[in-house]
Symmetry: C2
């Protein structure tokens, strides 16, 4: 298990390197032709996590018991009503090895809405979640700029511009709360606006705030990326979280024939990724059986990567 | 220098692998979680090329003399009026080591136009160029789906759908002529519609024709990609051409301080890229001086990659 505080410092440092590059550029964006070499990969550990709903157990304590019994030290919780749960979660995590990995959404409204009220609602509710995320030591709060069914939204170019303006504000607020916004690309059935990790990373670069980061979700990547390695390497300066599920049906990893994450894992090792790979998935079988089997499969594939 | 015929067969084979993956998918797109391992990189050669306008010399023969004297074996010519130049170029290339690398645009209209006449004009003029491209043994014809100033264009989602339909037709026509369409992502000042190599590759995958491929241009990538390596790895199944220029001002490589292509070159070695890296750039100094200096710089950086 990593030392999370050190990892966060490293993370901010990495993002900081991006800002330094930005400063030497004469363009709104900055040249990213870094000569960063892939790190030696042997010593990069796989940090697995589970969403609360994916974790077997009736109570939070039972879930934490399950996680620790399976050497899983990341718990991802939903952002909905999170503020009211901060004390409960803080108490439950005392004397535990488990940390809060990321906060999954939970906000209202959306940032690329044409309706200013919807945008404001998103900012206001996100700030409440960010405060809770910071109090819980979470790496960040996952945010989707706009789902397909959230209409009317701005056309693409205008949407990107207004998104970036608002992310500057949210990023600053997140940094004050020692956490971040984590942009999540989804597949086209859910969100055409942001589908690829490289594009999410480019938005982060354009925002240029250590409080704005991105993630990749193997499930969405299955449909939108042509190469898992390319996606994660493109995201490397900003990659703050990873979701995982089976590749064809979004169930527990291993529940679909041929589930394979090795190319992506290889990239995560190359970029020295130390944050969490967190299960966001359903299950076909009994979670008490299929989750441990998935953990074993992923650890094996990590070793092969 | 490569054996071009073998390389093309390899290329079609690589693209064919994508088609095979598509066939096992139950989704419109196909899962791309290939476990393809990076190749041994030591034996991948850098194949440099120049655009005709970049090459010093008053006549085509003088230009070919310059290329061969500098061990450059790829010539990229414009698509405008290319049909009328096929015999001239074929004759000039006799007993030369130089091959036609790619054909740079030259079509009229654009494929994401709302006006059907503009779309048809693009298809018709592209077909004429593709016939000439095939006759000249070119890897393909570079195509931009729509520049920012080509309006009215369809909104993003509709544009992508109509683009893919038309690319199926153009791809089939290209294959019959033993060549391809090469989609080029540009920077946002020129074309918001297609900015990143990963997105171009995703379009190729969705079209699913061996006649539709993509490219990366280091100049545009400077502004739109967060990582050259991630971009090229994402494009690997479809990457058919590369453009290069100085990174800050689009002049000859090396004419801007700090010009660095090593991360991208490293990726090109990893994906076993054997097609051309072709100069599309202006120059600050005398081309007879700065082009050979650029060739030296790029060969050194390739060796370092």
């Amino acid at each position: 298990m990593e030392n999370k505080k050190n990892t966060r410092r490293e993370f901010i440092k990495r993002v900081g390197a991006g800002s330094a590059l930005a400063a030497i550029s004469t363009h709104a964006a900055f040249p990213a032709f870094s000569v960063k070499k892939p790190k030696k990969t042997a010593d990069v550990a796989l940090n697995l996590g589970l969403q609360e709903g994916v974790t077997p157990g009736k109570t939070l304590n039972e879930k934490l018991d399950f996680l620790e019994a399976n050497e899983v030290y990341g718990l991802e919780v939903g952002g909905g009503k999170l503020a009211s749960r901060v004390t409960e979660i803080q108490n439950a995590l005392q004397n535990r090895k488990v940390k809060i990995s990321a906060i999954c959404a939970g906000f209202s409204g959306w940032l690329i809405a044409t309706d200013e009220n919807e945008r404001k609602k998103c900012i206001d509710t996100s700030k409440v979640i960010l405060e809770a995320a910071g109090a819980l030591g979470s790496y960040g709060m996952i945010l989707v700029p706009g789902f397909n069914n959230q209409q009317p939204s701005f056309p693409f170019v205008e949407a990107r511009a207004i998104l970036i303006d608002q992310l500057k504000e949210l990023g600053e607020f997140a940094v004050k709360n020692k956490t971040t916004i984590i942009l999540e690309p989804l597949n086209r059935k859910e969100a055409w606006f942001l589908r690829q990790v490289a594009d999410a990373a480019a938005i982060c670069r354009d925002v240029n705030s250590p409080g704005v980061t991105c993630m990749g979700d193997f499930w969405h990547m299955t449909w939108e990326e042509t190469d898992d390695m390319g996606a994660f390497i493109s995201g490397q300066l900003y990659l703050n979280h990873v979701h995982i599920a089976s590749r064809k049906t979004r169930n527990t990893p291993g529940e679909d024939e041929g589930d394979n994450y090795i190319t992506g894992f290889k990239a995560l090792k190359m970029i020295n990724y130390k944050h969490f790979v967190s299960f966001e998935c359903g299950s076909k079988g009994d979670k008490k059986v299929v989750v441990p089997a998935a953990l074993k499969l992923l650890r094996e594939q990590w070793d092969l990567a």
